[in-house]
């Protein structure tokens, strides 16, 4: 069979997003995969020159709708660090709770899409049904389902009442039970392991060399999680990075599945330790100098670089998102696999194209 070049994307049923790959295929085996970008590029980093540092929070929240809360968290903590603002402890805990809720919603979304990529429709619907519970929590506590805008410079906008906290704990219990139900299917189903085990293998060495981050890195056996950097309230919470050894698509699924339980645990810890007090402090003046900040997103480490000149506007804001770092590893993983496995492997890094291109 002659070589065929298959355009994977930009509009494709498996991916809700316009990722583009030119796959050179021979006998349904991928010989070469070249990524193409630019279909979602907006250039929003440049908006920092016309929107002031407070308005930029809304912009960075829309770098990506799935991890919007965590982008805002990174931005706020980075600017606060530059300005020497001390955030009240209650605000730190609230930030942690919301960011973990966001991680859960993102992972559940991914698990659903991943199941869809290998044609397991009922599992896809199941995960999305569980996910709606988290979105309900978001809507009740923050007013929006997906783009949860709670961060401001110096703290958070909204508080969690005691009833809300109790309700969240009750919902989490239910989510935990529902997740336990699918565990056997996810890990023991013959067809799932057939489609995911040994697909898109990445060794620890290669992962570090190609700059992979987040669950992709952890699934290759490297215990690196930016939450260990102890931003927000993570310094007072107890957790271990979830890792797996095999480095294939199955291992990545495993890491993300167990991170859901880790997040539930972190939220419980945070809710039991949350102190009373104010939720924000007033921020005066404007930042100056340069800074970098990193936090752990559902997809991995996000890196912000700030350059400020003491005026209302930032000089430069640079966002290096986790998918951007994972794409070289993905291009490597795609070579030599079957065409049928392409969606599985692409989804296994949890691509977020609007993050990648900004």
């Amino acid at each position: 069979m002659p070589k065929t070049i298959i355009p994977f994307g930009p509009q494709h049923p498996v991916l809700p997003e316009p990722l583009h790959f030119s796959l050179t295929v021979e006998d349904e085996i991928v010989q070469e995969a070249i990524p193409g970008f630019g279909y979602v590029h907006r250039g929003l980093e440049k908006l920092c020159e016309i929107k002031d540092i407070h308005k930029m929070i809304q912009v960075v929240e829309r770098v990506c709708g799935i991890c919007s809360k965590i982008h805002a968290l990174c931005y706020c903590e980075g600017i606060e660090q530059m300005m020497g603002v001390e955030v009240p402890p209650r605000a730190k805990y609230l930030r942690t709770i919301w960011s973990e809720l966001h991680r859960m919603h993102s992972h559940l979304l991914w698990l659903g899409l991943f199941a869809d990529s290998f044609g397991f429709e009922s599992l896809f619907y199941h995960f999305w049904r569980i996910r709606e519970k988290i979105l309900d929590i978001n809507e009740k506590t923050a007013g929006n389902r997906i783009i949860v805008s709670v961060n401001i410079l110096g703290g958070v906008k909204r508080d969690l009442s005691t009833e809300d906290q109790k309700w969240i704990l009750a919902e989490l219990k239910e989510i935990e039970n529902k997740l336990e139900e699918v565990k056997d299917t996810l890990f023991k189903d013959y067809t799932i392991s057939k489609r995911t085990k040994g697909k898109g293998i990445l060794s620890a060495e290669e992962a570090l060399y190609l700059g992979a981050v987040g669950p992709v890195l952890r699934a290759s056996g490297v215990a690196q999680d930016c939450r260990q950097l102890q931003y927000a309230a993570f310094s007072e919470l107890d957790f271990e990075p979830v890792i797996a050894q095999e480095g294939d698509s199955f291992a990545r699924m495993q890491v993300r599945y167990f991170e859901l339980f880790q997040s539930i645990d972190l939220i419980r810890q945070a809710l039991s330790k949350i102190p009373e007090g104010p939720i924000s402090v007033k921020v005066k003046g404007y930042p100056e100098g340069e800074n970098v900040f990193r936090v752990e997103q559902p997809r991995g480490e996000v890196f912000y670089y700030f350059k400020a000149n003491g005026s209302k506007f930032l000089d430069r804001l640079r966002i290096r998102t986790p998918t951007f770092a994972n794409v070289p590893a993905l291009a490597k993983m795609l070579t030599g696999i079957e065409l049928a496995d392409v969606p599985v492997v692409i989804l296994s890094i949890d691509p977020c194209i609007s993050c990648t291109e900004r």
């Binding site: 930009p10 509009q11 494709h12 049923p13 498996v14 809700p16 997003e17 316009p18 630019g38 279909y39 979602v40 590029h41 907006r42 250039g43 929003l44 440049k46 908006l47 016309i50 809304q58 912009v59 829309r62 770098v63 990506c64 709708g65 799935i66 919007s68 979304l109 659903g112 896809f124 619907y125 999305w128 049904r129 709606e132 979105l135 389902r145 997906i146 783009i147 977020c352 609007s354």
Partner: protein, 150 residues
């Protein structure tokens, strides 16, 4: 022949097939669009299927801003959808560019490239709103058939 076609098309309101294209949005609207198809909202009750193939679609659902690179793809997809069709712009970005309107690589809303029939505002719009928009567009499809615009 035309009469028979029109007669057959009266059923179009019961089977609107949907093509979703992310045209540079932040994913918020996309995952809400997908959520519309999942158990809690279940758009398949109304016969809505996300076909993912422009040649089979009746409703073209676009989210996000138009930029220099995807305007061509947007137009291509639009031309590939057979008549009758309805174009739905979902989310503030698809309406006007929203918060990104001033960003360097953004051209603006979807209606700068292709004609839009129904606008659904919101950032992101709630799934209920998207579902309502889809059902409104079904009525519009029916109107188009009745007025002989096929």
């Amino acid at each position: 022949m035309k009469f028979i076609k029109r007669l057959l098309l009266t059923g179009i309101k019961k089977s609107p097939w949907l093509l979703h294209f992310d045209c540079g949005s932040c994913n918020g609207c996309d995952i809400e669009t997908l959520a519309v198809l999942t158990p809690v909202y279940d758009a398949e009750r109304f016969g809505v299927i996300n076909v993912g193939n422009p040649k089979h679609a009746d409703i073209f659902l676009v989210t996000g801003t138009v930029n220099r690179k995807n305007q061509e793809i947007l137009n291509n997809l639009y031309l590939q959808i057979p008549e009758p069709k309805v174009i739905l712009a979902v989310g503030t970005c698809a309406l006007s560019g929203g918060i990104f309107a001033e960003a360097p690589n953004v051209i603006g809303g979807v209606d700068k490239i292709i004609p839009v029939d129904i606008y659904i505002p919101g950032c992101p719009p709630k799934p209920e709103a998207i579902l309502e928009g889809v059902l409104k567009s079904v009525e519009l499809l029916e109107d188009k058939v009745k007025n002989g615009k096929i």
